[in-house]
């Protein structure tokens, strides 16, 4: 606790934070006190954070978590032994820090992964210190007590996995099968979800309850639509038809403008973003569904869920209806595929080294 105080976080501030965090996680209210006591105790478990095929947006998101700041969490509550973006060490020193952390805390450390793992070309699309992400993940996962797959890329493959998935990107759970994994999807994920999972792990020594996609139920238990403040307008059939019509100005439902809230499980509607300032729907834009698997390939962001998601699939479906139409349609599909192939040049390893 003295460490937290040194960074300007008083015990009462920390207790307040833990109380509201317990509330956000739907834990019993008294759990806030237990969390504060447990996290203030000097356990400082080792955390190794591996960045793979990612954009650093997840790190940007978590470093903007507030009360307490990520800095105080890093320096006092956890021992962050490896995080390329935040650590001062580089090159061989950084790799040494990683290996030392693995050796000293084998079987006990928490592994956080952001980014997907490319399997194409023997993993050559993304390497750290001459090792492919696949090799590094397998090596570091061996000694982990649990793994947190942070962001949609680590959890489900994310944007790198989007069609045509040129790098052969897969998720962490596609590779690691023998460790407890918690998925925190989102592009990026909500900072408080990450803090909540860390707090739960530090307090209870276990991961929180997960849904069938490995997401913490406390934050991904309900759809955006279920908790949306515009839900009443959906029920009343009041929809914005364009982004600047009367409906949009009145704050009506964005379903017809492509909002994916009804099929997206996340906590944006309740936790909001940027310290509770706002969230996409409140800012007038529909939900993109970024915490769901393959959201990038789920059709246009601006087509209503009730409309066909993929025109190509629709015409392919129509082909079943009649042979004559079918021939024409399959010709169209073939032509599209040929055009796509012609436009795509395969990248080889020598190309990358040029």
């Amino acid at each position: 606790m003295a460490g937290l105080a040194q960074h300007g976080v008083s015990r009462r501030s920390f207790l307040k934070f833990c109380t509201t965090l317990a509330s956000a996680m739907a834990l019993p209210p008294a759990a806030g006190l237990a969390m504060a006591e447990a996290m203030a105790a000097a356990r400082r478990p080792s955390v190794i954070w591996l960045p793979f095929q990612e954009c650093t947006g997840c790190t940007e998101s978590i470093t903007r978590s507030h009360s307490p700041t990520i800095e105080s969490l890093i320096f006092n509550v956890i021992s962050l032994d490896y995080q390329e973006t935040l650590m001062a060490a580089a090159g061989h020193q950084a790799e040494e820090a990683l290996h030392q952390a693995i050796k000293d805390n084998f079987g006990k450390y928490l592994l956080i992964v952001d980014g997907s793992v490319p399997l194409g070309m023997d993993g050559a699309y993304s390497t750290i210190g001459g090792k492919s992400n696949l090799e590094t993940l397998k090596e570091v996962a061996k000694g982990a007590a649990a793994i947190v797959a942070m962001g949609s890329c680590a959890a489900f493959g994310g944007i790198p996995k989007a069609n045509p998935n040129p790098t052969g990107a897969v998720s962490v759970s596609d590779i690691i099968k023998d460790k407890p994994i918690v998925n925190i999807p989102g592009c990026p994920p909500i900072p408080v979800v990450m803090t909540g999972v860390l707090a739960h792990y530090l307090t209870f020594g276990s991961l929180p309850e997960l849904d069938k996609l490995g997401r913490p139920k406390a934050f991904y238990g309900e759809t955006i639509h279920d908790r949306c403040y515009r839900r009443a307008f959906y029920d009343q059939g009041k929809f914005a038809k364009t982004f600047d019509d009367e409906g949009a100005r009145n704050g009506w439902c964005l379903f017809e403008l492509g909002c994916k809230g009804p099929v997206t499980y996340n906590a944006c509607a309740t936790t909001k973003w940027n310290g509770g300032t706002s969230w996409p729907v409140e800012s007038g834009h529909g939900c993109l569904g970024c915490s769901e698997p393959d959201f990038w390939d789920a059709g246009s962001f601006y087509k209503a869920l009730s409309m066909p998601a993929n025109p190509l699939k629709t015409v392919a479906g129509a082909a079943v209806a009649g042979a004559a139409i079918g021939v024409a349609v399959s010709f169209v599909n073939r032509a599209k595929k040929s055009a796509a192939k012609a436009a795509h040049e395969t990248t080889t390893l020598p190309d990358l080294e040029k």
């Binding site: 307040k16 109380t19 509330s23 006190l33 403040y229 310290g275």
Partner: protein, 135 residues
């Protein structure tokens, strides 16, 4: 439209009461008995249940205003007030931007957030000792 107004706008009952406030009041009564008889403290998370703003107002009116009212400056204001029933406290937390982050009813002699922690008291005693030594 904010969430508070939304609850009112979509309320289907005439007076805005959902009936949940009565249930909360019963729970407060039970927690208070547990405090009086066994010294057990309790907390109710008002953000964790579907209460309309009318429900909250009804509950606040029934519990009334007591003698103690505090504002704690903890990365945003936290208001703590004792209700007309001794040992029943109403806590409202805001973040640095003034956004409501939590609302609780707590039963206890003093809310846990207000009490000084034994470790902090020990540290304070040392600190004050050093200060006197340096006089």
């Amino acid at each position: 439209m904010g969430l508070e107004n939304f609850a009112e706008a979509t309320d289907t009952t005439r007076d805005g009461l959902t009936g949940n406030a009565t249930a909360v009041l019963h729970e407060v009564a039970e927690l208070l008995v547990a405090l009086a008889e066994r010294g057990e403290t309790g907390v109710i998370d008002l953000g964790g249940m579907p209460l309309s703003s009318a429900d909250k107002a009804w509950l606040a009116e029934r519990l009334g205003q007591g003698e103690v009212e505090m504002t704690l400056n903890l990365d945003g204001a936290s208001e703590v007030r004792e209700t007309a029933f001794h040992g029943v406290w109403w806590l409202v937390h805001h973040n640095e931007k003034g956004v409501l982050t939590g609302e609780f009813i707590e039963t206890g002699t003093v809310p846990a957030l207000v009490s000084a922690h034994p470790d902090d008291i020990r540290q304070a005693a040392d600190k004050l000792g050093f200060l006197i030594d340096e006089l």
